[in-house]
Symmetry: C2
Subunit: 429 residues, 2 copies
């Protein structure tokens, strides 16, 4: 951090607004430089940062060890998110190099067409400016988020969890050093190094310095940021994902998709939480699926029809249909048809990812048109809802908003398009 920030930081009564003001001004100045950096220089910086991270492995592990020691009272799931290993550090470096390989979105000019007036009008893709990211625990987000912001020509302000302060500072040094080595402004990525919680509040109040905020973490954090931020937010709330097995489904595809969507991984946002089955196909698919889930120890909570099929199925309550379990628990509901399935998804879903299994073309067409989710799937596991699987290379998050970017947000989501008008002295009549 700069001398200016140090001074603010060391003040007796820490002034979070003054601190964020300094950080914000520095980010804005760096953003101007980043916006005009060439693809070659940005890629060089990403590769240099990757090398620095590999070289600093002992220092990063030592810092992480201190964070872990201070966090020993936390539960294991949280410690696991916080813990770095040689493998995780190697994965960070590999991630940076992968982002360097992605095409640069900045400057792409599309649709330049002549208008009747004689001017040409088109759109040019440009960085958004300063991206603020607020996240928890996982120190690898520091490297991943920095990579995406840099490649898309933005400056970044990163606020990690206070429990990862030392780990993030060690990674931050590698980033600043790489930026300097590539002749880019070191302030293009600033990792906030104070644990004071008022800093988050201050960050929400500076639309003049931060153009978009990306909160990544628990529901409480995301709700607070959405409510109080004075700038646009790219947010990911719940992933209450559905698979609907239509009457016209191929039973084998239905089995594969419904099993994979729930059990390939339990804790991810694109995991199915509720299985909807059309009444006419219940006998053909559900008993076999229930057996398979039970073999994997998945707890089942069903509607009255589903409950009758197997003694292990407990009765679901109304609350279950809203639930994002993130665990080996599944809600099962029998519905009449695609209309009722769509209605269920509209009422209980979270606009994340929803799938239909069917061989009926018109039913598939209706489902894809009418289900209002960031990803709508036909005959494919909900687990595919992911930036890498979609070919975006890497994602800054999965947006459940409908504004700006939706679903997996990659480099394009960190850019905007401005209009370019070219004439030859043209004036308006």
């Amino acid at each position: 951090m700069s001398g200016q920030v140090d001074k603010v930081n060391r003040a007796k009564n820490f002034d979070s607004s003054a601190y964020i003001d300094v950080i914000g001004k520095q980010a804005r100045a760096a953003a101007v430089e980043m916006a005009r950096s060439s693809t070659r220089v940005k890629n060089a910086a990403l590769n240099l940062i990757a090398c620095n991270i590999e070289r600093a492995e002992p220092a990063i592990l030592a810092a992480n060890g201190k964070d872990l020691a201070a966090a020993d009272k936390f539960e294991e799931a949280m410690l696991d998110r916080l813990r770095l290993s040689p493998e995780r550090i190697a994965a960070m470096a590999a991630g940076l190099r992968e982002v360097a390989e992605l095409p640069d979105p900045v400057g792409e000019t599309t649709g330049l067409r002549y208008r009747p007036s004689g001017i040409q009008v088109g759109q040019m893709r440009v960085p958004i400016g300063v991206v603020g990211i607020i996240y928890e625990s996982r120190p690898n987000v520091t490297a991943d988020a920095a990579a995406l912001c840099l490649k898309s020509g933005n400056a970044a302000i990163l606020r990690g969890g206070s429990e990862a302060l030392k780990s993030n500072a060690a990674i931050s040094s590698c980033i600043s050093e790489g930026l300097r080595e590539a002749d880019l402004p070191a302030k293009a990525v600033q990792v906030l190094d104070v644990s004071d919680r008022a800093v988050v509040g201050a960050l929400l109040k500076v639309p003049q310095w931060v153009d978009v905020l990306v909160p990544r973490g628990g529901k409480g954090l995301i709700e607070r940021v959405s409510r109080d931020a004075q700038m646009p937010v790219i947010k990911h709330l719940d992933g209450v994902c559905h698979v609907y097995i239509d009457a016209a489904a191929d039973p084998n595809k239905a089995f594969d998709v419904a099993l994979n969507s729930k059990t390939q991984r339990y804790g991810t946002c694109n995991t199915m939480e509720t299985l909807l089955v059309a009444r006419p196909i219940v006998e053909l698919v559900l008993p076999r699926l229930i057996e398979a889930y039970r073999r994997l120890d998945v707890e089942l909570r069903g509607c009255t029809v589903a409950k009758k099929l197997h003694p292990d199925v407990m009765l679901a309550s109304e609350k279950d249909w809203y639930e994002e379990y993130l665990a080996p628990i599944l809600a099962i509901r029998v519905v009449n048809d695609v209309e009722q399935a769509i209605k269920h998804i509209r009422k209980y879903g979270s606009k994340h990812t929803d799938c239909i299994v069917t061989e009926d073309f018109s039913v598939a067409r209706q489902f894809t048109a009418e289900v209002d989710s960031s990803s709508v799937m036909v005959n494919a596991s909900t687990r595919f809802a992911d930036g890498y699987e979609y070919g975006l290379g890497a994602e800054i998050g999965i947006s459940t908003d409908k504004f700006h970017a939706r679903g997996p947000v990659g480099l394009l989501g960190l850019t905007s398009q401005k209009w370019i008008v070219v004439g030859d002295g043209h004036v308006r009549d």
Copy 2:
């Protein structure tokens, strides 16, 4: 308005939250219907509304007469915005028919490509949902905004100025009737019919019902909405637009563009407010331009260099560089080169529309890449920054934000894109 709303409305202590809650629920339900309406039906509704407005001309003029009578203490500019005439009513109907002729953006699916996993991934354009629009005075916005929201498959909540309440109610009847005639939900467009100011505050607090807000009006309104809204906002703040005449400009093109950008209309947001001239070309272009501006009675406020060129040029203050005059006043500043011009625009501009006049290819390339405005122009009048001129057909506003939609916002700005995944029983490994 529905019986439910009437009841709320008539309550002794008007409860704006309860009122907006009813309106919002109705809008959400209508949005579901609108999203699955066919292009044919939406176009039919727009054409029916146009006919209804033409047929209701006497009723609309009578209602407008009452609004005008009640507003007689207001200044003439405001009365002019409020006043309807047979010509203005005909223009409203024509606008509706023009929107009906535009291509329907909804359902367009792009980029559907195979991924290495075997799934196909693409994006489908879909309505945003419920669009809230808060505007002042001009009753024609009621028809224009309704048309764009309906065509893009959204539901709309329109809050006009309290001084136009009766005019807007008359237009609103034509809209509801047209929706009913076309078998679309009459609540797809709801024009708020209460003048209570608390209604605006309540509208800002319902992200569950309103997906995006578009404030159109004075700076105070827009700042308040941006600060307090709990949903995304498409906003248009200042238009401090620049023309920079480069040393390598063609003097005749420079004259035409600089004159047209300021004097074709004074009160519009894309009118030039500050003229920047490169020092080497000052003698060649500025005296002739100053003469032309003075013939049109444009007041000139210049830097010290510009002031010396003509006795009518007054000295500009620092404040002038920030000013959106919206009047026959122009600030003039002599700069060294394109670098200094870009710096001036970055510091004093409002990211709206900025133009360079030059024949130097590399200088034009630098200006278009580095000026961070919603429209960047080369050798063309800033007055071209307009939805119709860009071929968008009509605009809901001109956004000075960098998020989601930028510059003139037409039908596309009222849609989002969701991901479509198609497989054949594919699961993730």
